[in-house]
């Protein structure tokens, strides 16, 4: 019998710890498939931090290092500086990467560290129960702002991919939503490129994946995906924002 579909070797047999309809499972699978295809299982190290994905070291069948909330890219910087020929990537959510960890995010990106970042943006703090995230949409209801996000009080949502794309030393920045098969396949291509940028050029790459958090959106899985497609994709444009480092001359001048 010919096997036509199976679990990537880069994922373990441990069950996923996520809620029904959560996008982390898809994101894990895509990363696992890409690592299989690039044959980098034995030379990759994942940095995990906090939130629902805090224990994704159970699911990725590779060496793993845990860092404190928000510090994933600083930890990844240390790993990469120590082991320049290994593939280092951090797997981070929106609260982690764009709230408490924004300092580390900006500076690791600005240094053009040779790391890959898988950034799952589901517009809400998941593990702690649905509080406002830096990426929550305007008027989106959260447990800390039940009447919806008022930008005059907490500021507008942050476009992380655009922000990092503006830094001259980031090389590959892309965003896609995990809402339908077409988008999922495109997201996988972006993830693959994000790893290749590290492997071939030792430069910084980040893929922002728009995903759903049904329990905290108070929606059924299908409705939650629809919300991501209609609301989030409308606000956070998908596609490749940047495919190479800004020219060095330009960098020097600006």
């Amino acid at each position: 019998m010919k096997e036509i579909f199976s679990k990537p070797e880069c994922l373990t047999d441990n069950p996923l710890q996520y809620c029904p309809g959560c996008s982390h499972g898809i994101a894990h699978r895509l990363v696992g498939e890409v690592m299989d295809e690039l044959e980098i299982m034995g030379k990759s190290i994942i940095v995990t931090t906090i939130g629902c994905s805090v224990r994704c070291w159970r699911n990725f069948n590779i060496d793993a290092v845990q860092g404190p909330h928000g510090r994933g890219m600083a930890v990844a910087t240390g790993l990469k500086r120590s082991l320049p020929d290994r593939v280092i990537f951090s797997y981070q959510g929106d609260g982690d990467l764009a709230a408490i960890g924004m300092g580390e995010t900006i500076h690791a990106s600005n240094r053009g560290e040779g790391i890959t970042v898988i950034f799952v943006n589901n517009s809400v703090f998941g593990a702690t129960g649905g509080q406002l995230a830096p990426t929550s949409l305007v008027n989106q209801k959260t447990s800390t702002y039940p009447d919806g996000r008022d930008p005059d009080i907490v500021g507008p949502p942050i476009h992380v991919a655009e922000l990092l794309a503006s830094l001259p030393y980031t090389s590959y920045i892309a965003r896609e939503a995990l809402t339908n098969p077409r988008r999922v396949l495109r997201a996988k291509r972006y993830i693959k490129k994000a790893f290749e940028v590290q492997m071939h050029k030792n430069e910084f790459a980040l893929v922002e994946l728009l995903g759903a958090c049904p329990p905290n959106l108070k929606k059924e899985p299908k409705e939650a995906l629809k919300w991501v497609e209609e609301e989030m994709v409308g606000f956070y444009p998908v596609g490749e924002l940047k495919t190479e480092k800004t020219a060095e001359k330009e960098t020097a001048r600006s």
Binding site: G42, R58, I62, Q66, G67, R71, A74, R81, G103
Partner: protein, 354 residues
């Protein structure tokens, strides 16, 4: 052995390199900038990595990343920066990651100022961050010890898989003395647990929080077992004129050198006074105190803070009445005459009472 003249802060850097530490991350803060700048200059010469981090938070986490790969790594900072690093030091303890963190302290809470002080004693010896943990704390009192204890810190940190702190102050970091440079370390122990890519072996997980409740309890028990072992094996103190001492001054780091001058003067006047100088602040040299507690009539803890180590002396001696404190915070530096006066007062009180 040939002696070299060098500054305390630079001595730490040179010793670290000789200990095989080729990774340094740090953020500027006075009074330890010479160490940061020394590493910026020296590490490229030995093919190492120097990176000025965007904050102490980032620096200590870059350190965590390197430590997780099993290589020797350090950072240095001063008091407020040390406070910022505490969350990650707690992670390092839970992940059992060897590393060296140098704290050349400032005085006072808050921003403080840069005169010499020892007011970070409690933060260092109690763990400093959240959770039940300890780190090794070594306190040099001269430039030679800044070299030697830096070497020792890396050795013990590797041996026990525990972060180490070198606790200095504004004087010891800035002063120049002649010292013998240590021989470079040849063999650094292999780290089978390190995250380096799983090719050819089972995967390694360098993580802080295990998956199950049972494993979490087991980790905490394992840490405590290790701390007990370190307490048994690694207590260190220097004793001066303690053989017949009836009164003991207890002092660590820079202030112990002022105490030495006062002891000479007190001995000349016929007072039997000695010095116990803890070198390991954690583990505190409890056993040494126990050996002398019977004969010594009074212990005087002299500190450049408002009285922190004195708690450990009381616990070690197990007699609150027998232990007194002299010192002050905010940059107060006693001179040998003040210490001498305090000891004489203490002795007169004792003998007046009898």
């Amino acid at each position: 052995m040939e002696k070299t003249l060098l500054k305390g802060n630079e001595a730490i850097g040179e010793a670290a390199i000789r200990a095989g530490c080729h990774f340094y991350f740090g953020y500027p803060i006075t009074p330890q900038n010479e160490l940061l700048e020394y590493m910026a200059r020296r590490l490229p010469e030995v093919g190492g990595v120097f990176l000025q981090s965007e904050s102490e938070l980032a620096g200590i986490n870059m350190l965590l990343g390197v430590a997780a790969t099993g290589k020797r790594v350090m950072t240095s900072t001063s008091s407020p920066g040390m406070s910022l690093m505490q969350e990650t030091i707690s992670y390092l303890a839970s992940m059992e990651l060897p590393s060296l963190i140098v704290n050349i302290t400032r005085a006072s809470p808050g921003l403080g100022r840069i005169p010499p002080a020892q007011s970070d004693y409690s933060q260092a010896t109690r763990g400093g961050g959240h959770g039940d943990y300890h780190v090794l704390v070594l306190a040099p009192s001269n430039v030679q010890e800044m070299l030697d204890l830096t070497m020792l810190a890396f050795e013990l940190s590797d041996k026990y898989r525990i972060p180490a702190i070198l606790l200095g102050d504004g004087i010891s970091g800035q002063m120049m003395e002649s010292a013998v440079l240590p021989e470079p370390v040849k063999d650094i122990p292999e780290k089978k647990w390190a995250a380096t890519g799983s090719q050819g072996r089972e995967r390694n997980l360098v993580i802080s929080a295990p998956f199950t409740d049972e494993d979490m309890i087991a980790l905490n028990k394992k840490l405590q077992d290790k701390y007990r072992l370190i307490k048994e094996n690694e207590q260190r103190a220097e004793l001066v004129k303690m053989e017949d001492a009836e009164y003991a001054i207890v002092a660590f780091g820079i202030v112990s050198r002022l105490v030495l001058a006062s002891i000479d003067s007190l001995r000349e006047k016929g007072y039997k006074v000695g010095l116990i100088r803890p070198i390991t602040l954690w583990p505190f040299p409890v056993d040494i105190f126990k050996r002398h507690a019977g004969r010594v009539r009074k212990f005087l803890s002299v500190e450049m803070n408002e009285g922190q180590m004195v708690d450990d002396v009381r616990l070690a001696v197990n007699d609150v009445e027998k232990v007194s404190f002299f010192g002050g915070g905010g940059g107060f530096t006693p001179n040998p005459y003040m210490i001498e006066e305090e000891v004489v007062k203490l002795i007169n009180n004792m003998e007046g009472n009898n």
